[in-house]
Amino acid sequence: MVNKLRRRDLEALSAYLDGELPPRQRARLEARLESDPALGSALEELRHTRAVLRSALVARAPRNFTLRADQVAQPAPASRLYPVMRYASAIATVLLVVVFIGDVLSGVGFPGAMALNAESQPALEMAVEAEGEAELPQTALAEGADVAADEGMVEAPAPSEKNVGATPMAFEAEPEGGYGGGGPSPTQPTLAAEDATEEAALPTLQAREVPLTPAAESLSEAAPADNEVSPFRIIEGLLGLTALLTGFMALLLRRGDL
């Protein structure tokens, strides 16, 4: 019966039961109830339903819900430094990544790339100059060897006459090891003056030897760079340290240890 009622009538009947209907609407509804038995029946059903609901026992609390002091104690407010440290750590990490990427892309402070440049450049020069130059002064050879030896690039045993002109590889090792003391080899002028065959062979050997000068120079430039600390490295180190320290501080602050 109730379901067949219009929603407005249903709401009016429900409110009428609870005495929540305004006087004017109540009077109008009471007039309709006298003339409409179906509406009166619906009211009775609704009244009965309400009685059933009101007869339901109110569930009593199974225990007391009183609060203890430790329950209401507010947790210590998080330190204001926590967000500062957290964001500082994040920013430092991002900057570290950016700087590292810039470092790699630029090749500065990247030892592998520098070594590669130092090796490839003299190799090209060696090939070109071996064809074009017939002879170079012995001093050039000696100087080149000096530089290389001074930089400690090679540690070969002292050469012998037999080694000179035997193989290019053996000759290349000669000035480095033989002139390792820094001065000109005492045997080299003798070899050039006394032995014609060996003298004829010398230009070739010298031609092979000449490129050592720029190579040694290149290496002599590269070697100090390895010893110097790149600015990228310093920045990366500082950023990494900052990220670690601030992150650790944030962790401690969050745990309430600080």
Partner: protein, 201 residues
Amino acid sequence: MDEAELIRYAKDGDLEAFNRLVLAYQDMAFNLAYRMLSEAAAAEDVTQEAFLSAYRKLHTFRGGSFRAWLLRIVTNASYDELRRKGRRPTTALTPTDDEGEEVETPAWLADSSENPEHIAERVELVEAIQRCLQRLTPDFRAVVVMVDIQGLEYAEVAAAIRKPLGTVKSRLARARANMQDCLRGFKELLPSEFRLKSESV
């Protein structure tokens, strides 16, 4: 000490004063939570959480009906729990003890002044009502519980659910109509004195 004084002291941090308010309203709060959730254990948790929340938010109480203000907190906590339950398997409506066994007559429903037969009838009635309440949407359920079971005025309910009076009237009327239909399906469970006239003929 009247309620207004207790509230004033409680606002100043007097836990003892607040606990006296808790004792005055804990049955009502638990009952609402239980009707909303149909689960005694969950209703206990919600009630405890609601009182704790009420204590912490007491400074926001600006006067008016403290009961309505408290019931709003309980209702919101019940809604939160219902949302959580929506992501969990449903539980049986019948109360269970600590070992999961069904409890025919929960301690909080038993009334020592009633005879066993009457208690059984009461329990059946309560179960029937509870099952029908569960078929209502939480919004309708809250209104019908507050008005018909808790006996609140419309204005208090409107304050508790923060809705206009017209919404309360509308929801209550429709909830009652739905409850009437539902209770017809449980007519065997209902004691004869509670059966609807149209069904008992």
